[in-house]
C-alpha cells in the first residue's frame, strides 16, 4: 500500500462529500421564486429522522419522507456511510475539524448522547410535540443556510446586482447553534456526529447490525495508529474491535494501518450497547416533561399577531408537521415570512410567520406551499391560495394620516389586491375627505397594506389573526367568498383628487 494511493482514496471521499454538500447548496439556491421546484427537498425525503419523529408527532406517516427507508436499508448493509459521505453538516464539520487545532486529544466522549436525544425526540413526539428541529442535522443545516448565510450572500450579490437583500429578524440564535456545533470540534473531531446527532443515532442503531463492517483482522500489532486517525473514536484498540455503530465508513483506518489488517468486509458480530438505566430514565423523563413545559410557554394569544403562511394547517398539527427548515422563508419573494422567536411558544422557534411590515403575501404567489417538504403549508393552487384568510387588517385611526391628519394618503387602498379596503367620504372637524375602511368579509390578511403604510415605525394598518382560517383538508374557496369578491359595486366614493362640481 503506497502512500500515494492512500491519499487518492481519501481524496475521493472528500470529492464525494463536497459533491453532496454542493448538491445540497444547489438545491438551496434553486429554492427560489419561479423555479420549478421538484427536487429542492431531495435531502429531506431521505431523512429517516423526519419519517420517524414527525410521523409519530403528527400521528400519520409522512409520505414525503418514505424514501428514507432506502437510507435505512442502505445503512443495514453498509453502515453509517451517510454520515461519512453525504451529510452536509458532517462535511462542514469535517472542514472545520481539519482547520481547528486541538492541543491534545481530549478523551471527552458521551456516545450514548445521540441515542438519548433520539429517545427524547421519540418520547416527546409520542406525548404530542416534535422537537426534531433542534437536532436534525439536515434541518439545522438548511435553516442555517437560510437565516445566516443567505442574507450574507445576498448582501454581497446586491452590491453588484439589483437583487434585493434578504433580511431575517433572527440570526444570532442560528449563529449560536451553528457555531456551537462547529466549535465542539475543539474537544474531539466530529463531536456532534458521535455524541449528539439523533439522525446519526438512528443510523448507529442499524449499523450495529450492518452486513459490511470495518473489521480488524488477524495480524494486528495493537500499534494504535487506526484509533488515532479515527474521527469518531470507534476503535477499541485493546480489544481489537471497531464499533460499527460509531464507524462512519471514512476509510482513514484502512489506509492508515501499517499492517494492512483493517478491512471492510461482511461481518455479523455486534458490539453491545452500553446505555445505563439511569441515562435511559433521564431521556425518557425529559421527553415526558418537555412537552407540557413547552406548551406552557405559548404566547400566541397575547398578541394576536402570529400570522401563519397561507394554507398552513391548524396550529397544533402545524407545529408537529413543520420541521422548521426555513424553506418557506427562503423562497418568500417579499421577505415577509420570518422566523418566529417565541411568538408561537418554545417549539414554535424558527417556524414561519408573516411579518407584514417587512413584506406582505403577494396575491400571485404560492411558493411557500410549493416548497414545504412536509406540507405543513399546503400546496394550494394559486387561485385557491388567494382565498385563504390569514387574518384581518385593522386600521389604527389614531395613527392613520388619512384619519388623523386629513392627508390624501389611501396607500392601503392602493396596495390591496382584493379591494378589501374602501375609501369612503367622511367628515371630521369640517373636513370631508376619503378615509380607508376595511371590509373584513373580503380581507385575507395578506398584509400588503401593512407593508406599504407610509408612516414611520409600526404601520397604521396591521394584520391580526382575526378570522384566521386553517384547514387540514378541503377547499378554502366558498361560494360566499367568490360572490363577495366578484361583486363589482364595491362602495367607492369619488376620490378626493377630483374637484366635483
Amino acid at each position: 500500500m503506497t502512500a500515494k494511493r492512500d491519499k487518492y482514496h481519501l481524496l475521493l471521499r472528500w470529492v464525494i462529500q463536497v459533491f453532496f454538500l454542493s448538491l445540497f447548496i444547489y438545491f438551496f439556491i434553486q429554492t427560489r421564486y419561479g423555479i420549478a421546484v421538484i427536487s429542492q427537498d431531495f435531502f429531506f425525503r431521505f431523512d429517516p429522522l423526519i419519517l420517524i419523529v414527525t410521523s409519530i408527532a403528527y400521528r400519520t406517516i409522512i409520505s414525503a419522507a418514505l424514501l428514507s427507508v432506502i437510507l435505512l436499508i442502505g445503512t443495514l448493509i453498509f453502515g453509517r456511510f451517510f454520515c461519512g459521505f453525504i451529510c452536509p453538516l458532517g462535511t462542514t464539520i469535517d472542514v472545520f475539524d481539519s482547520i481547528i487545532r486541538r492541543k491534545k486529544h481530549i478523551r471527552l466522549s458521551f456516545k450514548n448522547g445521540k441515542y438519548l436525544i433520539l429517545l427524547f425526540l421519540i418520547i416527546s413526539a409520542l406525548i404530542g410535540s416534535s422537537f426534531l428541529y433542534l437536532f436534525d442535522p439536515l434541518v439545522i443545516f438548511e435553516r442555517t443556510l437560510t437565516l445566516l448565510f443567505y442574507p450574507i450572500a445576498t448582501y454581497f450579490i446586491g452590491v453588484f446586482t439589483l437583487g434585493t437583500n434578504a433580511v431575517y429578524i433572527e440570526a444570532m440564535l442560528t449563529l449560536t447553534v451553528f457555531a456551537a456545533i462547529i466549535s465542539l470540534g475543539i474537544l474531539t473531531p466530529r463531536f456532534w456526529c458521535r455524541n449528539l446527532c439523533p439522525l446519526g443515532g438512528i443510523l448507529a442503531v442499524l449499523s450495529k447490525f450492518s452486513l459490511f463492517k470495518f473489521s480488524i483482522l488477524k495480524g494486528c500489532t495493537s500499534c494504535g495508529v487506526c484509533a488515532d486517525v479515527c474521527p469518531t473514536g470507534a476503535i477499541d484498540i485493546e480489544n481489537e474491535r471497531i464499533d460499527a455503530a460509531e464507524c462512519i465508513d471514512c476509510l482513514r483506518c484502512h489506509y492508515a494501518c501499517p499492517q494492512n489488517v483493517v478491512s471492510y468486509r461482511i461481518n455479523l458480530t455486534c458490539t453491545p450497547y452500553s446505555i445505563t438505566r439511569r441515562q435511559f430514565i433521564s431521556a425518557f423523563g425529559a421527553g415526558l416533561v418537555a412537552v407540557p413545559l413547552a406548551r406552557s410557554l405559548i404566547h400566541q394569544k397575547l398578541e394576536g399577531r402570529l400570522i401563519r403562511p397561507p394554507g398552513s394547517i391548524p396550529e397544533p398539527d402545524f407545529l408537529n408537521l413543520c420541521i422548521h427548515c426555513g424553506k418557506c422563508m427562503k423562497i418568500c419573494p417579499t421577505n415577509g415570512l420570518q422566523p418566529c422567536i417565541l411568538e408561537a411558544g418554545i417549539y414554535g422557534l424558527w417556524t414561519p410567520r408573516l411579518v407584514a411590515r417587512i413584506g406582505g403575501c403577494e396575491k400571485n404567489c404560492n411558493m411557500c406551499g410549493q416548497v414545504c417538504p412536509t406540507s405543513a403549508i399546503r400546496n394550494l393552487p394559486l387561485e385557491e391560495k388567494t382565498y385563504v384568510r390569514m387574518g384581518t387588517a385593522v386600521i389604527d385611526r389614531s395613527r392613520c394620516i388619512a384619519w388623523e391628519q386629513d392627508k390624501v394618503c389611501l396607500i392601503c387602498d392602493e396596495a390591496c389586491p382584493y379591494n378589501a379596503i374602501s375609501s369612503l367620504s367622511e367628515t371630521i372637524r369640517g373636513n370631508t375627505l376619503l378615509r380607508p375602511f376595511v371590509d373584513e368579509r373580503i380581507c385575507t390578511g395578506c398584509g400588503l397594506c401593512e407593508a406599504r403604510c407610509p408612516i414611520e415605525g409600526a404601520s397604521a394598518i396591521q394584520i391580526f389573526s382575526i378570522n384566521e382560517e386553517r384547514k387540514k383538508t378541503g377547499t378554502y374557496i366558498t361560494e360566499e367568498k367568490v360572490k363577495l369578491r366578484a361583486c363589482e359595486d364595491k362602495p367607492e366614493d369619488i376620490p378626493t383628487g377630483f374637484i366635483v362640481e
Partner: protein
C-alpha cells in the same frame, strides 16, 4: 397738396384686394391655435396606435435623435394581469421601443420602481415582451436606493428635494408611458402620477399635500414625450385593480404632459362620472405652476383612425 392720382389709387386698391386673397394661415386664428400644445390621438387597431399617435404630432424623429439614450417609463408597478388595466400593456411598450430604435436610439432602458414585488410585477405585466433587441434594449428594475440621486426642487413648497432615478438623469430622452387608470387618492393616474415610479420614497408624497407634490415632481422630472396607453382604462378600483375596465382602443401622445393628461381625463368616465382635466386637483396645481396647458380648448388635437 398731395393729390392721389388715379393710377396710384388703382395700384393701392389692387394691392389691397390681392392681400385679401392670400391664404388664411398667414394671419389670424390658425396662428393662435398653433401656440397651444399638440396632442395626437389614435384610435383603432392596437398594433398601429403608437406610431399613428406619434406621427400625428410630428413623428418620432421630432423627439428622438440618432444616438440618443432613451428611458421609457411604463407603469408596471402592480402584479396584476395585463387585461386589468393597472399596468401599461406590453404591446404598447413594444411599439414605443421599436419606434425609438427606428429613430436611431443607441439604447433604450425600460424602467420602473414597482410597488409590489418586482419579480412578480415583471412576470404579470409581461414587460419582457417589449425587449425587442437584447443588445440595445434593457429592463431596469429600480430596487435599490443607490440607483437614485437627490435632486433639489427649486419650485417646491411640499418637496425640498427628492431622490430621482439616476438612469433618467444621465439619459438623453425620457418617454413617459403611463396606462390610463383611476386612482383612489388622486382620482386618475396618468402621465404625471406615473412619474412617482421614478423616485425612491414615493410614500413621502402621500404624507404631504399629494396633489401639489405631484405637480412639483413634474418640475424636476422633465419628460420629452408622454404617450398614454388608453387601449383600455381601469375606470374604478385603481390604481391596483381589480375594478371596472373599459376598452377605449386609444393612444394619446404629446410633449405637454399636463395637456396629455388633461385631454385623457375627458376621454372616458371615471367612477361612473364625467370629469375634465380642470376637475383634477393635481392637474390644476400643475396648470397654476405653468407646467402646461390644462384647457382642451387651447390644444391642437389631431385625431386619427387606424
Amino acid at each position: 397738396m398731395n393729390r392721389i392720382t388715379r393710377r396710384e389709387f388703382l395700384k393701392l386698391s389692387t394691392g389691397a384686394f390681392v392681400v385679401t386673397l392670400l391664404p388664411k394661415p398667414i394671419f389670424g386664428s390658425e396662428l393662435k391655435v398653433s401656440n397651444g400644445p399638440l396632442i395626437g390621438v389614435a384610435r383603432g387597431e392596437k398594433s398601429k396606435l403608437v406610431e399613428a399617435a406619434v406621427n400625428a404630432i410630428g413623428g418620432i424623429e421630432k423627439f428622438i435623435n440618432k444616438g440618443d439614450r432613451v428611458c421609457i417609463k411604463p407603469n408596471i408597478s402592480f402584479a396584476a394581469n395585463v387585461d386589468c388595466g393597472a399596468t401599461t400593456s406590453p404591446e404598447v411598450v413594444k411599439q414605443v421601443v421599436q419606434l425609438c430604435l427606428d429613430a436611431g436610439a443607441s439604447n433604450v432602458i425600460i424602467l420602473d420602481h414597482t410597488i409590489q414585488d418586482t419579480t412578480l410585477c415583471i412576470e404579470k405585466s409581461r414587460i419582457e415582451e417589449a425587449i425587442v433587441d437584447d443588445k440595445k434594449v434593457r429592463l431596469l428594475p429600480l430596487t435599490k436606493e443607490r440607483q437614485f440621486a437627490e435632486v433639489e426642487v427649486p419650485q417646491g413648497k411640499e418637496l425640498n428635494s427628492i431622490k430621482v432615478a439616476k438612469a433618467i438623469q444621465t439619459a438623453d430622452k425620457l418617454i413617459n408611458l403611463p396606462t390610463a387608470k383611476s386612482h383612489s387618492a388622486t382620482g386618475v393616474s396618468l402621465g404625471m402620477k406615473n412619474l412617482m415610479g421614478l423616485i425612491w420614497n414615493r410614500g413621502y408624497l402621500h404624507r404631504v399635500n399629494l396633489h401639489r407634490a405631484i405637480a412639483e415632481l413634474a418640475t424636476v422630472i422633465k419628460t420629452d414625450l408622454t404617450i398614454v396607453d388608453a387601449t383600455r382604462a381601469l375606470t374604478s378600483g385603481g390604481p391596483g385593480g381589480p375594478g371596472k375596465t373599459v376598452t377605449l382602443s386609444t393612444v394619446i401622445a404629446g410633449s405637454d404632459i399636463v395637456a396629455v393628461d388633461s385631454y385623457t381625463v375627458g376621454t372616458t368616465q371615471w367612477y361612473n362620472k364625467s370629469f375634465l382635466g380642470t376637475n383634477v386637483k393635481y392637474l390644476v396645481a400643475a396648470s397654476d405652476m405653468a407646467l402646461g396647458e390644462i384647457n382642451t380648448d387651447r390644444m391642437t388635437i389631431k385625431k386619427v383612425e387606424v
